[in-house]
Subunit: 411 residues, 2 copies
């Protein structure tokens, strides 16, 4: 008998009919002999509605009260699923974040889980109860309701799986798994049977919206196998797990893109020690995350420094950098929001040479200019003009043979 944590996203619980369908899936797993904890998101659209209300009430609503409001969506769905399960004749009980409890820090709107006490859930499971836990929410040590930020229900599920030492965490969503790239762009994109935590982390943070990054970090840290699959059919899904030899055989597992970044270049920065720190400190203080940073060798004791931020932060970041640039004697600051980041990801890159140069050649052959490059052990990202995004994704997907049957069968 296995202990399984299942998580269903907003589209999977969008209405009562879908919730009944989720109840049916849960019951199938329960009847197969599993102990079951089900984590739910809010009905799709509900959290957005609540966020809208909060923004109507206050210009800057993020804080304690914001979380009180937006945590209600999950409270409704867990109650409804518990009702639906009981209606089918099964023991079921909903638990909210503060009832589990799932203890977090007090960073309202984007709290981090600090600890989960699994005792109450295990006690219910031993009674044969299907436990339904509200995703996305927790409670701080003062008893205030907190939320984990967008996509936080994935994190709830994986963290619960870790705390309960579950055998498997299943993430049910509206896609069938993790694909080699966005099927809307490449018709021959293929679902991966398995992907490593590190690959998934690169894919998640690079724009593949299947799993929230933090949930993958949790899964990696506690070595929780995570199965991503569709709640709309019985297709097998993608298993996110530890890297193994089979995975290393494939150089590139996927092509991802992100259109949500903007580029800021600071021109002719005096090249002195500490100048980069001086430039980025005000951004950090304003809570702005910088993604890629490129600094080239200097000429005449001056250098150009380019970095990317999210499009949402662009205006604010530009204003801050403009001020700082003046203070440190840089010549000018220019911004560009018409960019996209295209990346290739693969655990096998560690052992395969020439992957980067192949990527650059493929893009160049299509006349796509590369504006910035950034690399990690298992990914290479290029910033290009936004109009080339789809083209770049397609030619890379093709060049690395991701759509071809034989490659997929290896995985």
């Amino acid at each position: 008998m296995a202990l399984v944590v299942q998580k269903y996203g907003g589209t999977s619980v969008a209405n009562i009919e879908r919730i009944r369908h989720v109840a049916g899936r849960a019951v199938n797993s329960y009847n197969a002999g599993n102990s079951l904890v089900v984590v739910l998101s809010a009905m799709s659209g509900e959290t957005n509605k609540l966020v809208g209300l909060a923004h109507d009430a206050s210009e800057f609503p993020i804080g304690r009260e914001y979380d009180v409001i937006i945590s209600t969506g999950e409270q409704v769905t867990v109650g409804l699923l518990a009702l639906a399960l009981k209606e089918m004749g099964y023991k079921a009980k909903s638990l909210l974040g503060h009832q589990v409890p799932i203890v977090t820090d007090s960073q309202f709107g984007s709290a981090r889980i600090e600890g989960i006490d699994g005792a109450r859930i295990m006690a219910e499971i031993e009674k044969g109860t299907i436990v339904v836990v509200a995703g996305f929410q927790g409670v701080d040590t003062d008893g205030n309701i907190t939320t984990l930020g967008r996509g936080g229900s994935d994190t709830t599920a994986v963290a619960l799986a870790a705390a309960l030492k579950a055998d498997l965490c299943e993430i049910y969503t509206d896609v069938e798994g993790v694909y080699t790239t966005d099927p809307n762009i490449c018709q021959d994109a293929r679902k991966l049977n398995r992907v490593s935590y590190d690959e998934m982390l690169e894919m998640a943070s690079l724009g593949a919206k299947v799993l929230q990054t933090r949930s993958v970090e949790f899964a990696k840290k506690y070595n929780i196998p995570v199965m991503v699959r569709s709640s709309f059919n019985d297709a097998p899904g993608t298993l996110v797990c530890k890297e193994d030899r089979e995975m290393e055989k494939v150089a590139v597992s996927g092509v991802t893109y992100n259109k949500d970044e903007a580029k800021i270049s600071v021109l002719r920065v005096p090249d002195r020690p500490g100048i980069a720190a001086r430039l980025f400190r005000p951004l950090t203080e304003a809570g702005i995350n910088v993604d890629m940073i490129v600094q080239n060798i200097s000429h005449d004791a001056h250098t150009d420094l380019t970095f990317t931020v999210t499009k949402t932060d662009f205006k604010r970041a530009f204003k801050i950098i403009k001020e700082t640039a003046g203070e440190i004697g840089a010549m000018d600051v220019i911004g560009d929001t018409n960019i996209a980041k295209v990346s290739i990801v693969g655990a096998g890159m560690r052992s395969h040479a020439g992957i980067a140069s192949k990527m650059f050649e493929v893009l160049s052959k299509e006349g796509i200019n590369i504006q910035m490059i950034s690399t990690s052990e298992i990914k290479i990202s290029c910033v290009v003009d936004i109009k080339y995004t789809e083209l770049a994704v397609r030619v890379l997907h093709d060049a690395f043979g991701l759509g071809r049957e034989e490659i997929l069968e290896e995985r």
Copy 2:
């Protein structure tokens, strides 16, 4: 400096604009030097929506999960009001039932308050915070969320006022106060400046929908003055308070009606000791409340027994009574859903004679047949054909001089 508990109903918090208006009212009271606790209902229509979802998920949803679902409406409004108050520059904090805590029994869907720990609220008030408490909800001793039943936010407000030893409890609603009768039926219905707890109790349970009965019981028990007034204007409202000499001067304070009852008559019941208990026990066991009961003197050791139940319970009650009547040898059972109960209420009845006979005369003069009569110290109720409801209310209102200026000025 006074401690004031304000409660706003669903129409008063129906949207962000209305919530901002409530914030403005609260701030006015706060700026006048009051310490303030604000209790809110859910946005009008929201609880019905949630109840609908629960009924979609389960045929009999009432229970633990039902309360998890339907308590979310208040959670949203308290968060929004706290945000709106902060936006105006005031300290504000929302507290849910389990955060106060408001401890109740475990009767989900209609829980009763067992105790309120006012320490946390008082600590916030001492910091100058406007405390916003979710109405309608509590927590049982096992940490389960409970709800108090329809109109429960009134009870939350009065119970909080009692626990905090507040100087005043203000109930803001969409009417200007308590009227001598339904203004939709009598154009010259007048708002009462003051009404006693007992009168209000009779009016509330007889169909005037201004204040929930249990909240008035609480107010009476702890002697909390309750001001019922409109959140839509600055009219003075009606004060519900202890009976005094002035009140006794007026024989009849109001005329109420209730079209939500149905009548069941058991014919020729063998008149033996214990027969009434035998008849009503199965109804009690089925959770059906009986309102009026009339039994006349018997003939030939047989008697007729008539009682009323709510229209909702009628079918179920009729079926149960039909069975029981067969078992105890009654001749027949007949039901009638075309009835209404019309009542006159007044603290002064205790000291005024001839009120009942005047009521019967007034009705008889209009040709309205009285089917059942029931009396208490301060009210007389008559069951009549439902088609005469409005006529009966109007002639009684007129006959007891309730619309006349001079009577109103006495109060």
